[in-house]
């Protein structure tokens, strides 16, 4: 397998892993509080719906859009997603936003599951089904776009799907083994890494795709072509460190021990 294929596999695995941790927290809260049957049916239905959306959106995008339009559309979306993740990571590392806390999210979901009242009879618990379905579907939609866009641009959708499927299996395996929310996973750090990746690929493709507006609809060309993506990853990383240092809140500065860097803070 080539280096590009490994890169694609790791990128889709990491992005899907983070989203699956969040979705699993919601499903576990429903399962432990209201019973597993409806929660698992909700999760299964959402995964099936996501597979259908992936197939339809993938076919539609490749069939109907010229290459530069595809780059602009998916590059623009990836850029928006990536910069949103990066923004949150920068604000968290600089002490201006609370860290993502999977334990707290789990407790909030448990509370809402209890407040909804008991399920009626032995049939499907609609509350548990809907919450599980919505949680998995919404978190998964972002993964669908990442799988399709990364896969199409690398002309290797199957590898992108393998990366995402491996993440689903890994997260579910760990969740079943531990039987508790996956709060020990350094989710904030993973989100920072995925944000950097999405912002870099998004910048590359969105800029290329602007070529749709010129005669001949030819994509713009970056200096160094594909190698420019590596340069963009380095630039976004360095810029994010500059932003973190510049925006560091005074209270965060004093609370952080002298031995811990902003990135180590994200890993907590």
């Amino acid at each position: 397998m080539s280096a590009a294929s490994w890169g694609l596999l790791i990128a889709t695995f990491a992005a899907c892993f983070v989203e699956m941790v969040e979705a699993t927290t919601i499903v576990m809260a429903m399962g432990f509080t209201r019973g597993w049957r409806s929660a698992m049916i909700g999760m299964g239905a959402a995964l099936a719906a996501l597979a259908v959306v992936t197939a339809i959106a993938g076919y539609a995008l490749t069939t109907w859009l010229p290459e530069s339009a595809l780059q602009l559309a998916i590059g623009g979306l990836l850029l928006i997603f990536g910069l949103q993740w990066l923004r949150k990571a920068i604000l968290r590392a600089s002490g201006r936003k609370a860290m993502h806390d999977e334990d707290q999210i789990y407790l909030d979901e448990v509370e809402s599951a209890r407040a909804a009242g008991a399920a009626s009879g032995n049939g499907l618990d609609l509350f548990s089904f809907m919450v599980s379905f919505k949680g998995v579907f919404l978190e998964g939609m972002e993964v669908v776009f990442i799988v399709i866009t990364f896969g199409l641009n690398a002309k290797n959708v199957p590898i992108a799907i393998v990366g995402a499927a491996a993440a689903v299996i890994t997260v579910l395996g760990v969740a079943v083994a531990l039987r508790r929310p996956l709060a020990m996973i350094p989710e904030n750090l993973l989100k920072y890494g995925v944000g950097l990746m999405l912002a870099s690929f998004g910048t590359y493709w969105a800029v290329e795709g602007i070529g749709i507006f010129r005669i001949g609809r030819q994509s713009l060309e970056w200096p160094g072509q594909d190698a420019a993506i590596l340069g963009l990853i380095v630039i976004w990383f360095l810029l994010s460190r500059v932003f973190i240092s510049a925006l560091r809140a005074p209270e965060a500065r004093s609370a952080t021990t002298s031995n811990s860097t902003p990135v180590q803070e994200l890993a907590k």
Binding site: L83, Q84, R87, L91, R96, E208, W222, F243, L247
Partner: protein
């Protein structure tokens, strides 16, 4: 109408999310690049670098708006 509103809300939440400034920053940066392209300011490489710089600048501006000191309420 209710379902149409819910459909629109889903896509708004999905694409724009909880911070509209990022989407606006991306649109403005690509808008600047489009103007430069139409004005034939640079060649491909120059335009690509301009696009990258514009994205960084507008992202920095959106962050600056996020962390600006809030005026105390009277």
């Amino acid at each position: 109408m209710k379902y149409l509103k819910a459909f629109g809300q889903f896509w708004y939440d999905f694409i724009i999310g909880d911070d509209w400034k990022i989407a606006v920053a991306v649109v403005l940066a690509l808008g600047v690049l489009l103007i430069a392209l139409k004005a034939k300011l640079f060649g491909d490489h120059g335009l690509a670098i301009l696009g990258g710089v514009a994205i960084v600048v507008f992202f920095a501006l959106s962050l600056a708006i996020d962390v600006r000191p809030k005026k105390p309420k009277p």
